[in-house]
Symmetry: C2
Subunit: 165 residues, 2 copies
């Protein structure tokens, strides 16, 4: 089973691709990166850039499932959250157009899945990602770590419910 | 000049197509309608429905410009606003992919452009649309009237700045 985790953002959309060979086997990191857009471009152009970048990732890695953090409504900055919604909409669309299913996980579930605690902090989460993939340092930027975290959460969850490989 | 006005929504996306033949000429109503999605479908599927519905409208009517109400952050229901952002993102993407420019107008400007008052109520706006196009009744559902309102605002604005026809 191949999983594409995504951390949506208008400015930076992080992504990470994992393979789960068999139930219980450690997920293997295939690829991770970030799609960046330019602030000086208009909203429509930035959404096209996100869409095209993601379509290229979907075409190259052909994931079975796309995992994304759930929408939640308690944002400090509503405008930023609504703009993030634009990017997230384009991501859901691109995934569906590529024939991948989309699964959402809420932040608490992602944190608990990786660290055992639903209240883990940012540093603790980055360390968990570093350890899970035996990396020399936590992934940068943080959007990449967040994308890998939701992908790992899906890997754990899918194994638990017997969907993997 | 052909203008496509859109009122984005996950459940109902209203649209209206206008032609402006010459500066100062009254805009002509070409087509209006609504793209509906089913609540029971997943978010990704609903965004595909909005995208496909809008792509069909864009292909049939080939507008020069797509006019949409500006994003604003003072929503009573943040979750609804973020979901609307998903639909709006897909709409901006579809417009850009079809080669149409996208212009945003804030609610006050739209109201002022149609009624002379930036504080016009919903009924007053619907009446203004009815009068502008000599319709027997205000357009239903309200999403259609809202789409025609932003299209008309663009028509007035484009005439004023000399972009029409």
């Amino acid at each position: 089973m191949r999983i594409l985790g995504i951390d949506p953002g208008l400015q930076r959309t992080g992504y990470g691709v994992l393979d789960v060979a068999a139930p219980g086997a450690p997920p293997k990191l295939v690829e991770a990166g970030v799609i960046r857009t330019r602030r000086e471009d208009g909203l429509a152009d930035r959404l096209v850039e996100i869409r095209d970048g993601l379509a290229a990732v979907l075409q190259e890695f052909r994931p079975d499932t796309v995992a994304v953090e759930s929408l939640y409504a308690h944002y400090k900055h509503p405008r930023t959250a609504i703009l993030m919604g634009h990017a997230r909409g384009v991501i859901f669309l691109a995934a569906a157009q590529a024939g991948a299913s989309v699964t959402s996980y809420n932040a608490t579930m992602i944190k608990k899945s990786l660290t055992g605690s639903g209240h883990a902090g940012k540093t603790q989460m980055q360390r968990a990602i570093q350890v899970a993939f035996n990396l020399p340092a936590p992934p940068e930027p943080a959007d990449v770590a967040d994308a890998l975290a939701v992908a790992l959460c899906h890997a754990h969850h899918a194994v638990r419910v017997g969907q993997a490989p």
